[in-house]
Symmetry: C2
Subunit: 246 residues, 2 copies
């Protein structure tokens, strides 16, 4: 073996990546603030000294992450990434990993009771108001499978929002997009557990109004256990991969 000199790998990044990183940094560092318009493509091209095509590719790279959106479907603005924007990347990833109902349920079991607990101390009047309205709605649509599913999902969302914890919101995004729609959809259709759902929601809501974190957490755990039983009893296997939506 001859004596070797070790060179570092040279890191040649294509221009569109470099530009993308620069813009990303400018946004994250607050140099361009949320809500501000991004310079026009021709401007950017001049500034960076590259062609408009390159700029466009750089922008596409960021657009998917949700930190760029469009104000009027023409000019691009810097936007606060909403949970569902980011959530879709995560969902794709999970689907490709063939995530199972069980895996998602385990995460839900970690996050949803936590959300219930936290919401007790963080929920504003308006949060509670929205939850209350959701309860009424749920009762009203008890026999409409689709509407019931939507209301159920909304309840969990409202609850999560009431924590005002953006990290929690993002962490549970895949539950919203993959878990509840698919799994609850099947369960509700197969077992019609509308009453049990409503009772659990009511207890959680009451606990939040009473500022009783332990009770809120407990009832959410029960709720999620119901959920698991539903999956097991329904015709979808608990350890089966979540199917790709058509």
């Amino acid at each position: 073996m001859s004596k070797n000199i070790n060179f570092d790998k040279i890191a040649h990044q294509p221009a569109y990546r470099v530009v993308s990183e620069k813009i990303r940094n400018a946004i994250l560092s607050g140099e361009i603030k949320t809500g501000e318009l991004l310079p026009t493509e021709t401007d950017l091209a001049k500034q960076f000294g590259v062609t408009r095509s390159t700029i466009r590719e750089a922008i596409r790279l960021l657009e998917h992450g949700g930190i760029l959106g469009r104000a009027d479907r023409k000019r691009l603005v810097v936007t606060l990434p909403e949970t569902d924007a980011v959530g879709r990347s995560v969902s794709s990833a999970l689907l490709m990993h063939q995530v199972t109902y069980e895996e998602l349920w385990q995460v839900a079991m970690g996050l949803e009771p936590l959300a219930s607990k936290l919401a007790c101390t963080t929920a504003t009047k308006q949060d509670k108001q929205l939850l209350a309205e959701n309860l009424v709605l749920t009762r009203d649509v008890m026999n409409d499978h689709d509407a019931l599913l939507a209301a159920e999902i909304e309840f969990h969302n409202l609850l999560a929002n009431a924590t005002h914890n953006s990290a929690l919101l993002l962490a549970r995004a895949p539950l919203n997009e993959l878990f509840y729609p698919v799994a609850w959809g099947e369960i509700i259709r197969a077992l019609s557990p509308g009453e049990r759902i409503l009772v659990a929601h009511q207890h959680i809501y009451a606990a939040i109004c009473d500022n009783n974190p332990d009770k809120a957490e407990e009832w959410m755990k029960k709720h999620m256990e119901d959920f698991r039983r539903g999956i097991e009893m329904g015709n979808l296997g608990f350890d089966q991969p979540v199917p790709v939506a058509p």
Copy 2:
């Protein structure tokens, strides 16, 4: 008020989006399998009947989500999105939302004890082996702040990997990228709590080997509480936004 006819909003998507969605669906539905090469840009352009520029923009859109990577830095391949690929989108989002240490800690408190518990029943011999090696490493670098930080982060990663739950891995991605590096970094530098870290890790490891979920969960909770105290005692406020890395 005149009688109105309500038309649905027409959903005119730019071509690069449509193409991007089509490719995405082909990937998610398994039409193109993981590891396969994507057709060349010129091919795709012909197939979709658009220009290569359009194809390229469509591809960039997907590239960021991590479901496309490059085999040899030329041809694109369909890849399983790794946690850190997706994690970066999430991290950007959180930084823009000015997420606080407290918010991240709350999520960590929901997920890390859960991971400990699950790992007890899912960890393979190799997982345990890796954890054991990490413990040795941790002891060895006890006085090297940077190395200690790296070892600490690696421990939590190994633990999460040992659950073999991809949903959990993705949900905790932001902890890896934002929380531990920044917060632990500061804590370790300020308080040098090397011993306490090691002791906690050892107990968790022991619990996993003994197949004792409750003990594993408990010790991880203690560990995270230490963590919180560290943040509070250090000079970083618990309720302060996590700073953007330079």
